[in-house]
Every structure is written in C-alpha cells, then in structure tokens.
C-alpha cells in the first residue's frame, strides 16, 4: 500500500481522512477494518489482494518466496496460516555439475529472525560456489548470522551473550552432485533421501530436546509429546555454543528425491514413512515438476493447519545417479 492510498468507509465507500471517527457521508463509525480503495478510483480488492479494476496490488503480498530451477529442483517458502511473517529462508543454485540448497528457519522468539535465516541461507549457497565442503558452508553461514546481528546488541551484553536475545536460526545445507549427497545441519530443519526404489531415510538428525531425550533413553512417544520436544539444542546465532560438526555423506545411486524442509512441513508427517508417502503422492500428481510438487506440499501443510512457516526444496535425482541439467 502506498502512502497516498485513500481510506474509505466500510459502509458506504466514501473516502475519509485518517483521524476521522465518523464518516461524513453516511455517519457510520469508522473502524480500523475499513476497505482500502485503489488510487485508480474504480476498483476494490479482489480475493488475492489486487484491485479488481486496474490490477495494482492493494494488500501486502503474502510474504512467499519461490525459486524454480526447472527439472533440476525448486523451493517454495510460505508464511503458513498462523504467522504474519515468513521467517524461513532458502536459497538454491546450480553449481558446476551439481546443485546446492540451503534452508533455514529463523527462531521466532528472538529479534529479527528473518535477518538470521536469510543471511544463513544465502551465505551457505555462496560458500558452496567456491568449495564443495558443506560444513565450511555452515561455518560461513554462522559467521554471516553473527555479522547480521546488531552490533549494539552485542556491545550492550558484553560477554554475557547467553542471556541476550539475538537473531538465531536453524540451517540445513545439501549438496547433490552425481551420485553423492553431502548434508550438514544445525537445528531441526531436515533433509530426506527418498529413493524411488528403496527405503526412505531422514538424512539429518534433529538437534532437538526430543531427540536428545530419546537418545538418553526416554520413551519415544513420551519424548515427542513433551512440551519441550521441539526446543532446539543447537542453532546459528551470536549466542550459540560452538557448533559440533554434523555432516552426512551418502552415495545415492538410483533415482529418487532429495527433500530439504523446515518443521512447518515435517511436523504434519513426522515419521519417515508418512513423509515419504506424502511426497510421493504429490510428486506423482505434479507429473515430475519440482516447483509444482513444492507448491502442493506447501498447500498440504497449510490445509493441515499451517501453524508455522513452511519451506520445502525438491531436488530430483535421476537414473544412474547422474547429475541433472
């Protein structure tokens, strides 16, 4: 919306000035829920937020991001239904004869989560343009998140950063080249390898309270239903502990899909089996298009409740494990 957009009365449509309490034409009390008219003077917003006469966007765009690399891969990032802002970020690029993707989920309890997730995703992919070391990409991302942190914030807290509220995020970095998959991760965003023939697997391990509790011996369903289950135990941020290197290298020698996503999607299909079935269904209905598969998976998560930001990257791996164009 531009500064010059006139406000108009929800009852009769007459324009009024900001600060008026009653409409001069019809006398209705003016609430904050007024219709916004378009500068063109002819139309009002349609269901998608565009003027139904001149087409100009009237309501803010839905904070959605997409990247379509054709058959090589794609991602979609969506705010979901409950959050006003999208604090997830992703980046994807063809690098050499392979493909790199980074997905990051900004921690919403801290300040400016978007600064963190965007810095992390873009610097991770940038790093992979010059090296194929996925952990180096994570370290570059960690540095970028710190650099994006307001200097004032850091100076104010001196060495007691653990008490500071700073931008923080998760990160998954995946590099697909030939029949090799390299994945590094911090936090509870995930990477899956879903072969066409063969057992699907969650390649990453969540850095989450539930995962650690289960590793310590707690019963799985008790751990997963504990209110602390989704608390992350590692992240990128100026207040984070030194990172434990967490890299998985896999040979992927058959056709299948590499999926990288935030918990806004996998929360609705948390087991590997249910996640694999979900992706297979939407891949089939999208006739092998990564961008359409990604859009449909986002739609699924929104229809299932959309409680969090939803980001998913779909990277097909073709026959003989060969690199894709």
């Amino acid at each position: 919306m531009t500064a010059a957009t006139p406000l108009c009365c929800g009852a009769c449509g007459a324009a009024y000035r900001a600060g008026d309490r009653f409409c001069e034409d019809c006398g209705h009390a003016l609430s904050s829920q007024t219709r916004v008219a378009c500068d063109c003077g002819e139309g009002k917003p349609d269901a998608d937020g565009f003027c139904d006469s001149c087409g100009r966007r009237l309501s803010p765009p839905p904070d959605r991001d997409e990247s379509d690399l054709g058959a090589a891969g794609a991602f979609v990032s969506d705010p979901g239904l409950r959050h006003v802002r999208n604090e997830d970020a992703a980046a994807i690029a063809v690098v050499g004869d392979g493909l790199v993707v980074a997905v990051s989920d900004g921690v919403s309890t801290g300040p400016d989560p978007r600064a963190a997730s965007r810095a992390a995703a873009t610097s991770a992919v940038a790093s992979l343009r010059s090296t194929s070391d996925v952990w180096a990409a994570v370290e570059a991302a960690a540095a970028a998140v710190v650099a994006a942190t307001d200097r004032q914030l850091l100076d104010a807290h001196g060495t007691a950063l653990a008490d500071a509220e700073v931008p923080a995020c998760t990160l998954v970095v995946a590099h697909v080249r030939g029949n090799r998959l390299g994945v590094a991760s911090v936090g509870d965003s995930r990477c899956y390898w879903l072969p066409t023939d063969g057992r699907p697997e969650q390649v990453t391990v969540d850095d989450s309270w539930a995962t650690e509790a289960i590793a310590d011996g707690m019963d799985e369903s008790a751990a997963n239903s504990d209110p602390r289950a989704h608390m992350i135990t590692a992240w990128l941020g100026a207040d984070a502990d030194p990172l434990n290197r967490c890299v998985v290298e896999r040979v992927i020698d058959g056709p299948g899909l590499v999926i990288v996503c935030t918990d806004g999607l996998w929360n609705y299909a948390a087991s590997v089996g249910s996640f694999a079935a979900l992706v297979a269904e939407h891949w089939a209905s999208a006739a092998g298009s990564p961008i359409i598969t990604a859009r449909r998976l986002v739609e699924f998560a929104r229809r299932a409740g959309g409680a969090d930001n939803i980001t998913v990257a779909v990277i097909p791996v073709h026959h003989e494990g060969a690199a894709h164009a």
């Binding site: 063109c40 002819e42 139309g43 349609d46 998608d48 565009f50 003027c51 139904d52 006469s53 001149c54 087409g55 100009r56 966007r57 765009p61 379509d68 054709g70 058959a71 209905s285 006739a287 298009s289 359409i292 859009r295």
Partner: protein
C-alpha cells in the same frame, strides 16, 4: 468428477518502463478414479462424414468404408452417432435422419448401410458441415465429427467461411485428407475454426487406425464446453492467447466477451489430459516496486445451472531495478516461444518452396532444423528430414531435396504445429 489445476510459469519481474507480460499456463484435468468416462459424464455424439466424390473410387472408398465400420464398431453403447456421405450434397447414410444411439442392433444396421457407400459426385464441404451441424442439433454434450476427404473443395468459396461461422463452437471437427490430391490450406481453416485436428493419411489402409483413434479419443472426453476465461486489468491489451501444447492453436480471435474486463476462449471438450497455453498481455507501465495482476486465468465449465469456475491461476507483473531479476528468461516461456517460431518458419519455408524461392526456403528450413534440434523435437526433425538434407542442425545448414514426396511435404505442413512439452525430450 474431473479435477482441474492451473499453474503459471513466468518471470514476473519487469524492468522500469517494460509493459509486455508473458506466461505459460498449464491446465491439467484428471478424472480422479481413473475409470473410463462412462459414468455420469456428458453425452457424446460422433458424426462421421465421408467424402464419396468420384475421385474416391477404388481403394480409397473401400478403405473409407472399412475405417467407418471400424469406428462404429468401437462405439460404446449409449453414444449417439451418424454417418454422412458427402459429395456436392450431403446424404444421411445412417440413420436416415437424426442420430442413433449405439447398440448392437444399430451398429449392425449402420454397418450394412456403410457397405453400400459408393463414390460418385462432386465436393461441397459446406453442405457436409451443415448436415453435421444439424445432426448435432444444438446439443450441449461432447460433439465430435470426423471429416474425410481426398480432394479439393469445389463450391462457391464464400460458402465454407459462412458455414464455419455458423457452427463454430457447436461441435469439434477432425479433418483427414487421404492421398495427396487434397489441400492442407483448405482443411486447416476447418480444423482451426472447429477446434479440431488436421492430418494426412497418405495410405488408405491407415484410415482404420486413424478413425478408431479419433473415436476413442472422443469417447474419453468427460467435459464438454470447457473455456479459458481471461481477466485483464483496465488499460491492458491482449497480445495473444495460444494453446502451445500438445499443438499450437491460436485462440486469440475466438474471444467471447463476458464483461468489460473478462473474455472467454473456447477449448472444446476435455478428458484426462494436460494442455499448455501462452498468454501475452500488454499492461500499463508501472514504477519500480509496483506489483500488478496482469491477468487472471480461470477455467470455466458450462453446467445446467450456469458457468462454474473450476480452477484459476494468476499472471503477475512486478517492476524492479534489479537487472538480475528482470533479465531472467523463464524456461517454459522461452521454450514455447521457440516452438511457435519453429511452426512459423516451417510454414514460411513450405510457402517459399512452392513459390520457387529456393534461398528463402533453405534459410527458413535451416532455422527450423536449428530450433527443433535445440528443443529435442525429434518428431519435427524427422518430418523436416524428408524435405531437406540436414547437414548441420546446430548452424541450421540444410539443402533442399530435389525431389520431395507430396505426402511428406503435406505431413510436414499438417504436423508442424505439434510441440514437445517443455522439459521433456521426444
């Protein structure tokens, strides 16, 4: 119930002052349970028009009888049908009037009538189409006709355009020419106006498979009268709306106004299938940071209670000073722009060749070989290969063949509008 999805592929970013917005919209229809179209679908009517002019004598009329018999024999019970013999007049062969409902009895009776088809007479295609149109009788079901001819239309040239105007939208007509004495430029306007296909069947024996395929395709349709509805903002102008897959058909001139902002474009009947469309819109220039809805593409199906919108997709424009964004070319748009160029350079090459302009023909066919190679359109390359010797497809170096089979030339002519789907090699 069929389900429809529409997806937009475009680069929505425009540099300052840019006004042209291009997008590919893929429309996919699925019939859910994968069963045949029989239950609860719209009524289907098939009319088969056979040229029985004198030139069809011998092998051609025999093959036409066989093909019509084969087509009638695959008709599902309940489908309505009729067979028309066309010369300088049209005669209802079976039934004597109106259409019949396919049953064992009517299929047998039709077969008897078809076996009595004889060739004798002239060719006046407008009378054939008028007869077919009358047989469909204003029904709103899935109306499909096959028109088979072997020669040129011999009537007042004003008759056919008037006929096409009368019946456009009432039924779809798939045109087939057997042998090489007919003219592509006579059948193509019929196919275009009647939302059908046109093709050559060089050898009469090929008619059986061709007719059966057309009838089976007709019976697989589940929704008649599917339209693309295009909304554009005030001040915008449509450059064109073309179907670009499975083959190129320009729908721009078929627009029917709905209101000041919207118009409908007919697309005929649909079964379980997918088609791609290229939308090109000219909008008023926006300033950096503006976003505009350049077009809203909806799919509309007619129903007893009026029109239903069964899917939609948005085509947007976003003005930016980021050149990295605005100079990106969307792959799908680039691909189909190339396929459209391919079809038009082939048409130009054929025309130049007929006019004896060897240089132009060579240059055009060379460009065609280039585009077809780059797009992986092997089918078109194979057709080109019968008309030119392709020396280097990458640089478009070709040589016209001295002798070109008329059937090969006509095959290139009729099939040059078939496209490959973006991202897939043929």
């Amino acid at each position: 119930m069929p389900e429809y999805t529409l997806d937009t592929f475009q680069n929505e970013y425009l540099h300052e002052g840019a006004t042209e917005v291009n997008a590919i919209v893929t429309v996919t229809a699925t019939n859910g349970d994968g069963q045949s179209a029989a239950s609860g679908s719209a009524e289907a009517t098939v009319v088969i028009i056979i040229d029985t002019s004198g030139s069809m004598a011998g092998g051609r009329i025999r093959a036409a009888r066989d093909a019509t018999n084969a087509a009638v024999s695959v008709l599902r019970d309940g489908v309505r049908f009729a067979v028309v013999a066309g010369t300088h007049v049209a005669v209802n062969v079976y039934p004597r009037s109106g259409t019949a409902v396919a049953t064992d009895r009517t299929r047998k009776e039709a077969s008897v009538a078809i076996s009595q088809l004889r060739s004798d007479g002239g060719t006046a295609m407008s009378t054939w189409l008028n007869a077919a149109g009358t047989l469909f009788g204003g029904s709103t079901g899935i109306n499909q006709a096959i028109l088979l001819t072997d020669g040129e239309n011999r009537e007042d040239p004003r008759a056919l355009p008037v006929t096409l105007k009368t019946w456009a939208g009432s039924f779809q007509c798939h045109c087939r020419g057997v042998g090489t004495d007919w003219r592509v430029e006579e059948l193509r306007p019929i196919a275009n106006a009647m939302l059908g296909t046109v093709d050559i069947v060089a050898e009469p024996a090929g008619l059986v498979d061709d007719f059966t395929a057309i009838v089976n395709a007709a019976m697989s349709k589940t929704q008649a009268d599917v339209r693309l509805r295009l909304w554009m903002p005030a001040g915008a102008r449509l450059n064109y709306l073309k179907q670009v897959a499975p083959d190129i058909t320009d729908l721009t001139a078929k627009r029917v106004e709905v209101n000041a902002r919207s118009g409908d474009f007919p697309t005929g009947a649909w079964g379980s299938e997918s088609r791609d469309y290229h939308v090109s819109v000219e909008v008023g220039a926006g300033t950096i940071g503006d976003e505009m809805l350049a077009a809203r593409v909806s799919l509309v199906v007619g129903g007893p209670d009026g029109d239903n919108i069964v899917g939609q997709s948005l085509v947007r424009a976003v003005w930016t000073d980021d050149l990295a964004l605005s100079t990106r070319i969307n792959k799908a748009v680039a691909h189909y722009t190339g396929q459209a160029e391919l079809a038009s350079v082939i048409a130009e090459g054929l025309e130049a060749r007929k006019a004896g302009d060897v240089d132009t023909a060579t240059q055009r066919f060379g460009r065609a070989a280039q585009i077809a190679t780059a797009a992986g359109n092997q089918a078109t390359l194979d057709l080109l290969d019968k008309v030119v010797d392709i020396e280097d497809p990458a640089t478009g170096t070709v040589r016209l063949k001295k002798k070109v089979d008329a059937a090969d030339e006509m095959a290139l002519d009729t099939r040059s509008t078939r496209t490959v789907r973006v991202g897939k090699k043929q």
